[in-house]
């Protein structure tokens, strides 16, 4: 029995099904992030948990109670909206306590809760202001205060940071993470920003076209993406996807690029062999993160399976802490992440190293990860 359980939930608008068979279960205190491109159904799913959208089929349970026909105000959830949705005619204090008032909580208790939350979020000085007199970051805090004051079972966030400027977004992200750590609340958080997803979550559900593509921890999603969509959507710069052919060479398994001259040939760790056995002599897609494709000195020297080859540098982009180097492997442009002081020159050949323990393989036909 999970704390929040979504079982085979679907959503249709008329004859169009926008969410298909969603199955997610999270435990108390988890921070679940729903991430995916715009229009994939994240908000719809969140609104279904909140009770703002009907569930077409399947069920949603909180604390093992079916919520399908329970009114939003009776689900003991709280929501922070993208636009903050602060009531413009009420002061900050009234905004925060409105929900308590509607739930018939007596005034002294409301005041006490208000001041606790205001202290927690450091908005005591703003309580008498109207939302129109607040900055974006302050509104964001008030919106969170309104959610916190209810002391709900589950917090729902719908892209809460997307209206803030870049600097503030990073600050608030840290603050939300701290809040979660300190209060141990259960959170479902919607975003289209994969960095937010990776930094905040205890678990991520990557969504596309109304399907959950993968449900897992940041690490799992990043290192072992379930399919090509997850591989390209999560991580920036994106994972390099190189078409290769698998070949057995004695006891070794080799991945060979076709389009290069001379051909790049990479020996695979033995551990991968069982999974890839039936793809020998077939084309597959090799996926490697930019940080696993680097210069010789920058490579993790303790890694047991480093493969070295040389390739032409097309472009070198210093980015402060790192230098991103573009080269062509197997006919596709790849990004390598090197140290800031790596010596590379454009249009010259240089040596690259791939950490083969961090490489994954996809079946080009099904786009699913095979190793």
């Amino acid at each position: 029995m999970a704390f929040l359980e979504i079982r085979n939930a679907t959503k249709s608008y008329g004859s169009v099904e926008v969410l298909h068979d969603i199955d997610i279960a999270i435990e108390e205190g988890e921070f679940l992030v729903l991430v995916g491109p715009s229009g994939c159904g994240k908000s719809t799913l969140l609104n279904m948990i909140a009770g703002l959208e009907e569930i077409t089929s399947g069920e949603i349970r909180i604390k093992d109670i079916v919520m399908n026909n329970v009114h939003p105000s009776k689900r003991n959830i709280a929501m922070v909206f993208q636009s903050y949705a602060l009531y413009p005619n009420m002061t900050v204090a009234q905004n925060i306590t409105f929900g308590l008032e509607m739930h018939g909580i007596p005034k002294p208790k409301r005041e006490k809760a208000l001041h606790e939350v205001a202290a927690l979020l450091q908005i005591e000085g703003l309580l008498d202001r109207k939302p129109g007199q607040l900055s974006g970051g302050q509104r964001q805090r008030v919106a969170m205060g309104r959610a916190l004051v209810r002391n709900p079972d589950v917090f729902l966030f719908d892209e809460p940071l997307s209206n803030l400027d870049a600097k503030l977004r990073v600050d608030m992200r840290t603050e939300i993470k701290k809040l979660h750590q300190n209060l141990g609340t259960t959170i479902v958080y919607v975003t289209h920003d994969q960095i937010e997803a990776l930094t905040l979550s205890t678990r991520i559900a990557v969504m596309n076209n109304g399907h959950v593509q993968q449900l897992g921890t940041s690490q799992e999603i990043y290192d072992r993406p379930a399919n090509l969509f997850v591989a390209t959507f999560m991580g920036s710069p994106a994972m390099n996807l190189i078409p290769v052919t698998l070949a057995a060479d004695g006891g070794k398994l080799l991945a060979r690029t076709a389009a290069d001259s001379p051909t790049v040939s990479l020996a695979l760790p033995d551990l991968m062999r069982p999974a890839l056995e039936k793809f020998i002599d077939q084309s597959v897609i090799l996926g490697v993160r930019p940080e696993a494709l680097t210069d010789v000195d920058g490579a993790d020297q303790r890694a047991p399976h480093l493969e070295r080859f040389s390739s032409l540098v097309l472009l070198s982009e210093p980015a402060g802490s790192d230098t991103y180097v573009t080269t062509r492997i197997g006919g596709v442009e790849c990004t390598a992440r090197m140290r800031a002081d790596a010596r590379v020159t454009a249009q010259a050949s240089t040596d690259f190293v791939i950490n083969m323990d961090r490489v994954v393989f996809f079946d080009p036909a099904t786009e699913v990860r095979i190793a």
Partner: protein, 293 residues
């Protein structure tokens, strides 16, 4: 904002500018002339008017015509002046404006925030009601009022005006609330507010501008209405407009033009007052939806 508008003003020479102002002034005078003539003649003894002195200021200033128009002139059977009819109008306008505005606001709220199957069709039909000419509904309406026993009563007129006005007020509030963020309604739902609490606590406090528009529009239309008043009212419920007509058209005795002028101004006074008090919010309210959205 102010700086930007300053910059965007087309620069004109002094001559052009003077010319523009002269023309504008002439237009203004032309439009104000009838009002001036009315005012001047309403404080003039009748003898001066019948003596051919229509445009000039009075030799003798008098408020007698106003007093007469208000409380003495022969309007109906009795010489009551316009006073009782003025109250008839008030008793009709206040409930009619209030009810049609409240219903319009509720309709707008439901049509934008509690959407249901066929809501656009329903709104289309209500919109259509705005374009039905008065004359078409006269006979069916008379029939309906008769059936409900409301013929010839003030409440009958209230019903007629509410039914007729609801299309307009719904249109106003629907368009206004369409620009009102739905997330606020959803937040209030999660907070546990009921249908009417959301309306009362969240939407209505932000509806000032459009409410002014609705009230002004409804007030002037209902106050100024003659056709429905003449068709559906009897002596006990006739509104000001009908009484004014009776006053001016009465065939007995001499035509007291000064009293007529005073009566006409009395009839127009409430709408003027509403415009002066709330007029600046009127434009603001009409603009509000479009600017925000």
């Amino acid at each position: 904002m102010a700086a930007a508008t300053q910059d965007m003003v087309v620069r004109t020479g002094a001559v052009t500018r003077t010319l523009i102002y002269v023309v504008l002034l002439l237009f203004a005078l032309f439009y104000l002339l009838p009002l001036v003539v009315m005012l001047v003649n309403s404080v003039k003894p009748l003898a001066e008017i019948t003596g051919g002195n229509m445009i000039a200021f009075p030799d003798v200033w008098t408020l007698e015509p106003w007093r007469k128009a208000w409380s003495e002139a022969q309007v109906g059977v009795q010489a009551t002046g316009l006073k009782p009819y003025f109250w008839n109008s008030i008793k009709m306008v206040v409930p009619a404006v209030t009810i049609s505005t409240i219903l319009g606001a509720l309709n707008g709220y439901v049509l934008t925030k509690w959407r249901f199957r066929g809501d656009t069709v329903l709104f289309g039909l209500m919109l259509f009601a705005c374009f039905i000419p008065f004359q078409i509904v006269l006979i069916p309406m008379a029939r309906v009022l008769g059936i409900f026993g409301l013929a010839g009563t003030t409440w009958g007129l209230v019903v007629v005006h509410v039914v007729y006005g609801i299309g307009f007020t719904t249109l106003y509030y629907r368009n206004y609330y369409a620009a009102f963020p739905s997330e606020l309604v959803r937040a209030a739902q999660i907070d546990g507010a009921s249908f009417f609490q959301i309306f009362w606590r969240i939407l209505l406090p932000s509806s000032g501008p459009i409410t002014v528009v609705s009230i002004i529009w409804q007030f002037t239309n209902i106050w100024n209405d003659f056709l429905f008043g003449a068709s559906f009212a009897d002596f006990s419920s006739q509104p000001m407009t009908v009484a004014l007509n009776n006053l001016v058209q009465s065939s007995t005795g001499v035509k007291e033009y000064n009293v007529h002028f005073a009566g006409a101004i009395l009839a127009a006074l409430p709408t003027l007052l509403v415009y002066i008090v709330a007029g600046r919010y009127f434009v603001r309210g009409l603009m509000a939806g479009s600017v925000k959205g």
